[in-house]
Amino acid sequence: MRTGVFFCQAENSSDELNIDAIAKYSANLPEVETVQVMGIKPKLEIKTLCDRIKSDKLDRVVIAGDIPGYYKPFFTKAMRLSGGNPDEIRLASFQEHGAKGEYAVDRAKAIVACATMGVPFGLAAIPGGNPVNHATLVIGGGIAGIQSALEIANAGKLVYLIEQSGTIGGHMAMFDKTFPTLDCAACILTPKMVDVGQHEHIRLLTKSKIISVSGKPGSYRVKIKQQARRVDVKSCVACGLCADICPERVESEFDAGISKRKAIYIPFPQAVPNAYLIDEEHCRYVLTDGEKCGHCVRKCPKDCIHLDEQDSIIDIEVGNIILATGYELLDVSKIAQYGYGKYPNVLTSLEFERLTNASGSTGGRIVTKSNRLNKRTNIEEWFFSPEGIPPRSVALIHCVGSRNKNYNLYCSRVCCMYSLKFAHLIKEKIPNVIVYEFYIDMRAFGKGFEEFAERIKQEGTFIIRGHSASVSMNNGRMIVRGEDIFNDRLVEFNVDMVVLAVGLVPSPGTEELSRILGISRDRDGWFSELDYNGSPTETDKGGIYVAGMCQAPKDIPDTVAQASAVAAGVLRSLTSGKGIGHMSSLSLSEIESRAKTIHAN
């Protein structure tokens, strides 16, 4: 079949693709008669195309480019006019088949090769028949990891769930209520956590990190480093006697730093595994190599504390890997105008979440910070006390560090809704409180979100369209200034508490993990999915999936939905036994030979 290849690039064609090299390659392909590079955004004339097809006696035309479908009508018409078969117009779409990144040129060549042979790219490029290891590794024990692990384990397959901290649960365990239904977050999450802890098909590894990954889709060998917990999980009954006697006081990560814990601690009472653990960065015994302290060992009635336990390395083999590493908050102290860290009652959203949570240090009372003089250091320190004074007025500021060219360019997607939720919680818990919400655009986009926003407005919260860019202090009260755009005035409110809806950034280990696994990240640092619309759960490496926030900011329902979708992808690969991963796992020559076989048959 006499084939002509035409390269038509869209304007925003990526620089990675060397079109000339691809054109040279395609000229050497069998059956290719003519290759023409039409340039960027070509103005096609049907008459010239017609002449070309006639003079070269082309039976098949391949249009190659970023969005070749755009130029198809011109060629169809030309083909028809020149008497050819319009069905023999093949598209070689670089964008659709993911010709980007490191192997962009090879991928593009393979796409063109398949198109000239008339073989669908997917058919030739997706390998099949690899033996698949039926174990799955889930990295990250937040709601996404838990959901994926449970879905796969419930289908009877083995799951390794590894978590960096001492317990699974992630950020969702810290939340008080979920928006827009105002369900109790813990009531949804903790049963799932317990399921994970007790599941016969889930191997839970807490305090663990990936060191290296090798192998190919279907059989990955993963080396995991598990930090010593120094408390025996099986025999610990979480009586808490060890923590009572521990002399070290450290800021609690689970409480977002608003309360203190000991160096031997359980993150929260419902933690899974429900056992204490040692914080080796603060434990006096560990830091002094056993010379000092060790009170907890003597106190423990079950003899389950082993302070000399060493880290261990675990090697496992898995078929699929799921990334669910989540997010953290942007460091808001670098945005000086909000005075975070300078004024005690400026809180981040997570701190407020812990403050309003019934399991928090104030028992769910929303109070302003009290101060006391630390006699040892002689420094005035601010802390939340259950007897603190409730704020008379609170300002909630949206888009702190999000949608901002100086910090995060993207919308963090959850801040509008959780700030509205905060407004509701404050109004619910404190009588006669005044709540101001400063927003730029209200992004209430999900099911029931808009209704929720309306409800909050009707509850009497002052919702101000206009951002606030300054928090200052005057006579012991904070002043929040802003522009009320709808009412056309500049406003200045005295408030007792400011809650910042801080933007979200990928969790700190994301970069390291992307290097270990060879997964690309987008401009903002989140893991890149293979195709945003078509396969939002897969990465450009076969057998590795993304779920939850580590792909992009999303709320809990979306996270859970994506986690379940990932589980479906994993289970598909396990049951079909082939089609593991996708195109990127094959090299150019492999795809070529596969396409030839398919073509010959």
Binding site: Q337, C399, R403, N404, K405, N406, I440, D441, G466, H467, S468, A469, S470, R481, G482, E483, I485, N487, D488, R489, L490
Partner: protein, 385 residues
């Protein structure tokens, strides 16, 4: 009342320097941090919005751009990098061209080449006229008095003629400004008494530029440096203008220094020199956000002024040290910069010397009028929202 929308307005303003207005998403951060925005004059966000919507008429009648002294705080923290500070600056340029009845200012602002060419033309014409006049009626070796190359009485006449032209141009432009802002722009009646009552604002702001000093970003600074420099530059300029217009004959007499007149000249020179050097250096180094983007007119402004100051100093030194021929040559060069500078004033950035104090005066009146109006209407128990 229907408002005309000019959809091309934003593109037009692009030529005046407001390039990124379209990026603004109306968060209001700029108005919040602005030390000058208040309940009546809410800017820069509102101006940005009006620009985006093409409300040319609303911008034409507003005084808001004149209340901004471009401290750059708004641009610094703008989340969209839409540069509201530069937008206000561009609006001032546009307003200058709008107040200018001849329409010349528009061309100067839109094209740097036109402006430079115009200046060169006037400069060469001035130079040839002065040389022709000097060689036909005087001797290059005589500086002042009988048979001088450029006798000060002749220069005095020249200055006064120019001054008269300037005053005429500026008076027409200022009255246009008054018409736009106080007649077209005011929806409520302004009693004439207020014009008298608020008149003190005009000299007060002219000589102190008090509002500029409110620009400082934090309270730690005792003095706001750009304000001090700007004030020095302006006072120096005005002093020099008075000296040249009124006391030119004393200024140019004899090689001996006449302290009673020259002391003012020296003080003015210090102010002018510090100011021009400071602003040129900042514009080259782009040291503060307000100097990051320099419009062609900004460059023409500072460099021309700097050249005038330098040639003036040279001429003075040559004259005082008795090198009359060189003094005369540098005098011609000096005047070749001064005449186009003066003629250009009504069409250029320098006219803000008049417009800014006027704007302060007018805002004072407007404020009082709004206050009075609100009092009256509240007596009639009409709620205003």
């Amino acid at each position: 009342m229907a408002i005309r929308v000019n959809p091309r307005f934003i593109d037009e303003l692009d030529r005046y320097g407001a390039e990124d207005v379209q990026l603004c998403y109306q968060c209001g951060d700029c108005s919040t941090v602005c030390p000058h925005a208040d309940d009546i004059y809410k800017f820069p966000r509102k101006s940005m919005r009006r620009l985006q919507m093409g409300l040319e008429e609303k911008i034409e009648t507003t005084l808001e751009p004149w209340l901004c002294y471009y401290c750059g705080q708004c641009s610094e923290q703008c989340p969209r990098e839409a540069d509201p500070g530069e937008t206000m600056m561009s609006l001032r340029r546009w307003l200058i061209s709008r107040y200018d009845f001849t329409g010349i200012a528009k061309h100067f602002f839109k094209s740097g080449t036109t402006e430079v060419l115009a200046i060169l033309t006037v400069s060469i014409l001035t130079g040839s006229f002065l040389l022709y006049h000097g060689f036909s009626f005087g001797n290059i070796n005589i500086y002042d008095g009988e048979g001088a190359f450029l006798p000060s009485s002749f220069i005095h006449r020249l200055d006064l003629t120019l001054g008269l032209v300037l005053v005429l141009f500026l008076a027409v432009n200022a009255s246009r400004m008054w018409y736009f802002t106080m007649i077209k722009g005011m929806k409520i009646p302004v009693p004439w008494l207020l014009y008298i009552r608020e008149f003190y604002e005009l000299p007060w702001h002219f000589f102190t530029q008090k509002r500029y000093s409110d620009c400082q970003a934090n309270d730690d600074q005792k003095m706001y440096m750009p304000w001090m420099i700007h004030l020095g530059l302006m006072l120096g300029y005005v002093t020099m203008l008075v000296l040249v217009m009124v006391f030119i004959e004393e200024l140019q007499s004899g090689p001996a220094i006449q302290w009673s007149v020259h002391i003012f000249g020296y003080l003015a020179t210090v102010g002018l020199l510090t100011g021009t050097v400071y602003f040129i250096r900042n514009r080259i180094n782009k040291s503060y956000i307000q100097y990051k983007k320099s419009h062609s007119t900004d460059w023409v402004f500072v460099s021309l002024l700097f050249l005038i100051v330098i040639t003036g100093i040279l001429q003075h030194i040559f004259h005082r040290s008795g090198i009359y021929d060189w003094a005369n040559i540098s005098y011609v060069i000096h005047l070749m910069f001064v005449i186009p500078w003066l003629l250009r004033m009504p069409f250029s950035k320098w006219s803000h010397l008049i417009y800014r104090p006027l704007a302060m005066y007018f805002t004072g009146i407007q404020r009082a009028a709004y206050l009075r109006h609100e009092l009256i209407t509240s007596r009639l128990s009409v709620t205003i929202k």
